[in-house]
């Protein structure tokens, strides 16, 4: 367990921290007393864990989208108690669901996301186009969402979140519908943007290799509890991979110097050939 206990003095701390966060859905407690952080600014952070471990719920609770007990602090400021609009301005959550395929152009989608919180400004259109260009879909600006593929809509959602200039960006599986080119393009863009503007950027990821190579901090959830918190290379031990993912695996280093998860077997299925 690398989870750090919260200090009594929070002021001056940089990054995002959650303290004693619990979320219930009806009678079922999805998150049990989560304490993790700080997720540092300027670096990508990953939330990892198997299906149903509470990753999405943790992100929603951080963003204030589900009722929760406990505290969320951003740069020492307590976010709980802020109204939804003020909180969304500081901390933008990108849901896993894609924008609905509407008869609304991509540009309008971005403008609408901005206009709900800010008054109209002269440079709204150039700014929105700039974000579309950085995500790589400027050519789609005047196309309606209803004509786009799932991956393209996911990119629109990402541009929407980035265009709001939040202090913290919480992305729930932002790469799930993207092809490899766009997956790495988005990761590179996020890393650059995070470093440039000192953003706190937390991504829910399923691909452990991406977490190893792109993120400096990871939080591993298992059955609604924090299993480990720290640099991915250090915490993704064979014991943890077995306990959480039920795979026999370890972190290996490739010829180019990149880290990857080498899987030797899956529990209940026995041995599997390497590099499956």
């Amino acid at each position: 367990m690398n989870t750090r206990r919260p200090d009594t003095e929070q002021s001056g701390e940089q990054g995002l921290r959650v303290q004693g966060l619990s979320v219930r859905h009806g009678r079922h407690e999805v998150l049990h007393d989560i304490t993790a952080g700080p997720f540092p600014p300027g670096r990508l952070c990953a939330v990892l864990g198997p299906n149903g471990s509470g990753k999405s719920t943790l992100l929603r609770a951080m963003g204030g989208l589900v009722p929760s007990r406990g505290q969320v602090l951003l740069h020492g400021q307590v976010l709980d108690g802020l109204d939804l609009r003020a909180r969304a301005r500081l901390c933008c959550t990108l849901p896993q669901t894609l924008p609905e395929p509407l008869r609304l152009t991509v540009l309008e989608t971005l403008l609408a996301a901005r206009r709900v919180a800010h008054p109209a400004q002269e440079d709204d259109v150039p700014a929105a186009l700039g974000w579309l260009a950085r995500v790589g879909i400027e050519s789609l600006a005047m196309r309606p969402l209803s004509e786009l593929s799932g991956g393209q809509r996911q990119l629109v959602g990402l541009a929407q979140a980035l265009s709001r200039h939040p202090r913290a960006l919480l992305l729930d599986e932002p790469l799930s519908a993207l092809d490899p080119h766009y997956q790495y393009r988005v990761l590179a863009l996020l890393r650059e943007e995070t470093a440039r503007s000192g953003l706190v950027c937390i991504l829910v990821l399923h691909d452990l290799n991406q977490a190893l190579n792109w993120c400096e901090t990871a939080c591993v959830l298992h059955e609604g509890r924090v299993q480990a918190f720290g640099p991915p290379r250090a915490i993704l031990t064979p014991a943890l991979l077995h306990a959480v993912y039920r795979i026999h695996a370890c972190v290996d280093t490739g010829a180019q110097g990149q880290d990857f998860i080498s899987v030797q077997g899956v529990e209940t299925l026995g041995q599997v050939p390497q590099n499956v």
Binding site: R103, L104, E192, N213, G257
Partner: protein, 367 residues
């Protein structure tokens, strides 16, 4: 840390691309404004046609004279226009506008293409409220009977939308999504419940009041009065600015409830305010002309087809489409059988059902 791909270059958008996109945006805006203007002209034309056509024919010049210089016009033309045809035509336009606006907001806040005051029981609830106040003979000193009927219809309509919202919330998924079928099935339950209650009212009603009640269930514009038109217009004039004020939030809500919440929209508050406006509009429409179906269902679809999903344009376009549809069906209701005014509710249902089927068949399976 090793980096498998080169970093994403920060590419500033080329100047011509910005100019082109701004021009495209401006063109889109102009197109939408033009569509709204054309719709408004269409509504005005259909109101004029409604005034001109009838058993006693008024020539266009006599019509315009009676309309703009009533004192100089012949008394019979003046009487026909101001006592009969104009109230009828304006009631049709106002009720259509109210239903169009209510339908557009309802489809957005319930995220359901089949939502409308008629399909989800709001109109039936209003009819029940109206019949309750008639059968029980409610009186409040100093308040005209029409207002009491309207008030009672409003209370019941609000109750029904609140009930619908509460029922559908029970089946909401973690991401805030409610299945289309859940909303529709709850709506159907409400329609049947309130129809049964209206039937019960008819059963216990006396001979005289029964005549009044039939009027509410069929939907007819023939009882149009100036105070009713005034109240409807006032309601439209007060609800439309609030609806337009929420236009950006409603547009974002169309992208999905969870997304809207993540962008800082208080979805519950937005929905409550919209449902209040919807019940006010549909209750007044029902209180004055009875249950008129399908206008509130069709108008938003036409509006979205014409101007897209930017609610700043969709809402007024739906309002104008509703006014145009009901205005033209009202005219149809008067000319379809010479000498007889068929209750408008019957005509809108006959015209609306094929469209209703079209919407259902166009839905993607499983959507």
């Amino acid at each position: 840390m090793p980096n498998p791909v080169p970093s994403c270059p920060a590419r500033p958008t080329a100047r011509p691309a910005i100019v082109m996109a701004q021009a495209a945006c401006a063109a889109l805006r102009r197109r939408r404004q033009l569509v709204l203007a054309l719709l408004a002209v269409g509504v005005a034309m259909s109101i004029l046609a409604d005034c001109a056509i009838g058993p006693a024919s008024l020539s266009p010049s006599a019509l315009l004279r009676a309309l703009f210089t009533p004192d100089a016009a012949p008394p019979d033309a003046r009487l026909i226009l101001w006592r009969i045809r104009l109230p009828y035509a304006l009631t049709a336009a106002c009720v259509g506008a109210a239903l169009g606006l209510a339908g557009a907001e309802m489809q957005t806040v319930l995220a359901n293409p089949l939502a409308s005051p008629f399909t989800l029981g709001t109109s039936a609830a209003g009819a029940f409220g109206a019949s309750l106040s008639i059968v029980l003979g409610w009186h409040i000193r100093g308040l005209p009977q029409t207002w009491i009927i309207a008030l009672s219809a409003f209370v019941c309509s609000m109750l029904s939308v609140w009930l619908l919202e509460a029922l559908t919330r029970l089946r909401q998924t973690e991401t805030g999504r409610v299945e289309t079928s859940t909303v529709v099935l709850c709506g159907v339950a409400l329609v049947f419940s309130f129809q049964a209650l209206v039937a019960l009212m008819q059963f216990v009603a006396s001979e005289d009041t029964l005549q009044d009640l039939v009027f509410w269930t069929l939907g007819s514009l023939t009882r149009a009065t100036w105070p009713a038109i005034g109240l409807l217009a006032l309601t439209l004039a007060t609800t439309l600015p609030f609806a337009l004020g929420a236009a950006w939030r409603l547009t974002v809500l169309r992208m999905g409830e969870e997304r809207a919440a993540s962008l800082g929209v208080d979805v519950h508050r937005l929905r409550r305010a919209a449902l209040l406006r919807i019940s006010l509009l549909s209750a007044l429409a029902v209180a004055f002309v009875g249950v008129i179906g399908f206008v509130g269902l069709i108008a938003p679809h036409i509006a979205r087809g014409l101007v897209g999903e930017d609610q700043r344009y969709t809402l007024p376009a739906s309002l104008l489409s509703g006014a145009f549809i009901l205005s033209t069906t009202a005219l149809l209701a008067r000319v379809i059988v010479p000498g007889v005014v068929v209750p408008t509710g019957i005509v809108t249902a006959l015209v609306g059902i094929p469209f209703f089927l079209f919407i259902i068949l166009r839905q993607k399976p499983g959507a």
